[in-house]
């Protein structure tokens, strides 16, 4: 077995999510280079995990900015919904006016026809 055949497996073994096969284990036990690589991957992983407990301090005012951003977004949404409600009311009014106009026109047309028929008889 060649060292580069183990390349991928060593990174996965280092984080404990997989185990080496028997032949791979035998190779690592005899190969100083692969042992060193495994140790290096484990060291890196331990150090990466340790970063989890390290907090980087934001510049002051971030919490206030976050809350203001949410407030502002809430206002934008409220305005948008108000505009869309107005649009609905406007369109509703327009539809009602159109319907009333059409009904009026039909009524007038019917009356005219009736009066013409009355004159003819």
């Amino acid at each position: 077995m060649r060292c580069d055949e183990l390349d991928h497996d060593l990174t996965v073994v280092a984080d404990g999510s997989a185990a080496l096969s028997r032949p791979q284990q035998r190779h690592v036990e005899q190969c100083l280079r692969c042992q060193a690589e495994l140790v290096q991957h484990r060291k890196i992983l331990r150090t990466l995990r340790a970063l989890r407990t390290e907090y980087l301090e934001p510049a002051p005012g971030l919490v206030a900015d976050v809350l203001a951003y949410i407030e502002e977004a809430g206002e934008r949404t409220a305005i948008r919904s108000l505009v869309s409600n107005h649009k609905v009311a406007y369109l509703g009014g327009l539809a009602a006016a159109t319907a009333a106009g059409a009904a009026g026109a039909i009524l007038v047309a019917t009356r005219n026809r009736r009066s013409r028929m009355g004159l003819a008889s």
């Binding site: 991957h41 890196i44 990466l48 809350l67 949410i70």
Partner: protein, 183 residues
């Protein structure tokens, strides 16, 4: 507190923001590698969290849920930003050659693997950095990482493997060079 916030208690939500901001900002900064971008990601994260509070089921820690949103926001942000401008390196990175003598002196002076690792993380391409940070620092499952970054699980694993290799090359250049010569 999360339950109170879910029920509409505005002050409970504000308290949650105060308590979790350092962690959220740290993750955002590790993902974006830029303070200004990290602040934008944090703002967007909390807005989405606020709007999606009803979706938080409480089966995981609130921060776990929040960090998934942060990862998603950072990914979206980096994609959008990538369309407009190239990933800019901070000034100090532009000045530091990872193999120069000044850097070696810096490493010897600092001595800490943690410092070198932080530098190495910053030099990774954003796509590789995101996966290795979420998996190896925050121990997020591959499936969650894939879902938040909008990639397949196998793509997430490939990126993780590449990122780990790049980090090892940066941190242990002698052994990596010896290996490439031997192969």
């Amino acid at each position: 507190m999360a339950v109170a916030a879910q029920q509409g208690d505005r002050s409970a939500f504000e308290e949650l923001v105060r308590l979790t901001t350092p962690g959220t900002y740290t993750l955002a900064l590790r993902l974006t590698n830029n303070e200004e971008d990290a602040r934008d990601v944090v703002q967007e994260t909390y807005l989405r969290a606020f709007r999606g509070l009803r979706n938080y089921r409480g089966d995981a820690q609130f921060t776990t849920w929040l960090y998934r949103i942060t990862a998603n926001c950072a990914s979206t942000f980096m994609t959008t930003r990538g369309r407009h401008r190239h990933d800019e390196l901070p000034a100090e990175e532009l000045m530091v050659d990872p193999h120069s003598s000044s850097d070696v002196e810096l490493m010897a002076a600092g001595g800490e693997l943690r410092d070198r690792l932080t530098l190495a993380l910053a030099t990774l391409p954003p796509k590789l950095r995101a996966v290795v940070v979420l998996r190896d620092v925050y121990e997020m499952p591959h499936e969650a990482i894939a879902s938040e970054l909008g990639i397949s699980v196998s793509a997430a694993k490939v990126r993780l493997h590449r990122a780990r290799h790049r980090l090892r090359q940066e941190l242990f250049p002698e052994s990596s060079e010896a290996e490439s010569r031997a192969v």
